[in-house]
Amino acid sequence: MSDTAFPVNDLLRKKMQTSLAILSLASCVASTVFLLLFAERTGLGISSLVEGKLTAGFSLLFYPFLTLLMVLVVISGVVMISFTAFIMMAQRTRDVGLMKAAGCPNGLVFGYFFTELLVVAFVACVLGTLLGVVAEIACSDLLGSFGSNPFHTSIGIWTPVAAFVSFFVLTLALGVSPVVRASQAEPAKALSPAHYLGLEKEPGFTVLSRSSLSLKMAVRTLVRHRSATVRIVFCLSLVFLLVTVAVAGGLIAQDTSKSWVEDAIGRNVLLVGQREMVAQYQLLCSEFYEGASNTEFNYTNPKYQLTKSLLGNLSSITGVAGLDTRLVVEEQVMEIQGYIYGSTTLGMQSVGDHREGASIVVGVDATDVVSDWSINGQFLQEGQTDQAVVGDSLSRALFSEPLNQKIGIHGRNLNITGVCLDPLNNGNVTYVSLSFLEDVTGDTGPNIALVKLDPSANKTEIFGRISALLQNGNSNLQVYDLDVQLSKSLDFVGSLWSPIMLLPVFSLLAASLSLVGYVALSINEQRQEFGIIRALGAKPRAVLKIVLTQSLIIVLASYALGTALGIILTLLILVQEPLVTTFTVVEIACWLLVGLAVTFAASAYPATIFAKKPLLETITKS
């Protein structure tokens, strides 16, 4: 028999084992290629969507998250493939032993089985890559047709090619180790299942003596096959980690970023000002979700100033909880060097340069602000006119160590006390005291008023009363519901996170496929024993119970490990100052439980199919 005829004939003869191995491996490759392509398309899509938008602070939350997800997708794919390759070749070890026992030289034995691995790996990787690409294109088209996927970026051919090459090499590298071990082992050892599945020694682990024998059988099988069990638990843990980071992290990050936006813009707030000024303020708010507008506007035009009598009338309206009067101008601001203690130089050293740029400068009364920004540092203190708080994008663009530096406005240097996350003008904003700004610009009063309403008040009614008030005095004054801008900003943040939430769904499907592959291979290995049990009088559901017990143990162990690590990673590293409400916790728990149920249900599929097989088919040796 020729060197290639044997492996090919052997593969064809063992149709069940071969097709199972190819299908498991192909499904792993397909799901990983799919996830990679989907994540790439989503990542590229999001990147193109947020170009010129999204403040620096929001980007800081968003990009590490997406990067980590991509890394986890790649790692879990690699682990899933390595696991399948290991199981596939471990099952051939007995054949290696048989050939050696028959006198076949080591080199030839290795050659035969390496050729088998080569054929299986090549077919599975080609099949898997094609399936992954087709599935991703189909899925993106489908999502596009439902309007759920806002990204229409094209993906290059190199990702699938690179994935194919990497997975093919990886499969060979990992699958070859059991073959090498078996070809070097004594024939008696290679022939023994005790050797190739690591059963040489009885495990110290004991099952409770009162446990049912089905449970004992399930647990001992897992413990004895510890090599394969550890691999599948590791593999699934990674997937659950990915799912948790995507689900819990995604939901928490989404809630947190939405709360930042809401706190910065304010809810139940009406905007009052001259019609052009109100429109310009809306434009500044929309920079966050629509990008830079670069329109020329003369903020300091005296006609925009609001009179004290108007402001007094506004604050006296019943249901108005607060009045935040602001003077909004555009100014050239300058970075002023600061000094910090250098840990390496052991002395004071200067930080920063003399960068300058245009920024929206907002004069506010520190006691009246309706916004509650997420701030690194602290907000302006009452009565202090030498302080400034800069927006996150301005901080990133002009400052090195903003909290140790000053900002120059109109030749006056102000201490930077905080950096705030602010959607206004996409974070290119500076907050100073109102009196300071009035002083340096020569203006006599604010040009915008934010009217904070009592949560219990009827907004429509107050809106109407303010409109009436404005029409009585100056017809060019306007009231505008700022919740419209808040809603658009929140929708934009939501649209960034929602595609990411599809990743855990697909990761779960990929993990389920891996688990199905593992269970199928595991059943195939225990097939005859299950047949014997049925022949002795056990009903098919008794076998199902044993297989499902094994799956449940694996899934629960992986779930506990993966979700715990995922939550730690999310809360400690990914999302600073996370907002975790009871609803978020319930939502996360539901998602994760659905994930657990889906994975477990998927593992039941091969067991159910097996339980329905005719008894004689299961009892005979393959």
């Binding site: 024993e529 049925r534 002795l536 009088g537 056990a538 098919p540 008894l615």
Partner: protein, 229 residues
Amino acid sequence: MTEKEVAVLVSSLDKTYEGVGFKVQVLIDVNLEVSKGEFVAISGSSGSGKTTLLNIIGGIDKPTHGKVVVFNEDLGTRDEDFLAGFRCKNLGFVFQSYNLISTLTVAENIAFPMEWTGKNGKQIAERVEELLSLVDLTHRAGHFPFQLSGGEQQRVALARAIANDPPLLLIDEPTGNLDLKTSLKVTQILETMKNRGKTIIVATHDPHVIELAHRKQILEEGRLTVVNE
């Protein structure tokens, strides 16, 4: 003279295996009647269909044509759930290659079929002890199958087959792979079972086992012939 009750009735049984490009007729018009308490030995060359016949009588395989009635149940018409329960209650099967569960100890292998009958732990433990003593393997109770010799595994398989005290034993080549001394030990156990009034159908070439039988039949090229009554 009173007529003996029939335990197993096989009539006009055919079994054909078909696949792509092949068709093998394993059993041809087989007729067999075994009374309760009877010990029947079936011999025949390898591939003559002995194991297939035992599998069909045990409800593990289905006939292509013909009828198999065991304790008045027509097994060909029953579903898998019924057959499983029927085997558990009425049949003890000893396979040619022992087929012990590798993840269970000797004691657990013997106890396993009793778990499905609803016996409590104490009853099971007592029965296991009794059976271990019968097959002389009390000292091996905690060992796993791969730690046993072939003869010991065969004795465990026998103990497992009679764990639920079934009225019918189907035994496939019980001494085929064993040395003379171990064969004799297994034969003794079979004799004990015979003396306890079990109905036994055994596929064997072993003259010691055949000697125990009330009746010997030969299966040649799928056809069953009677040697002596």
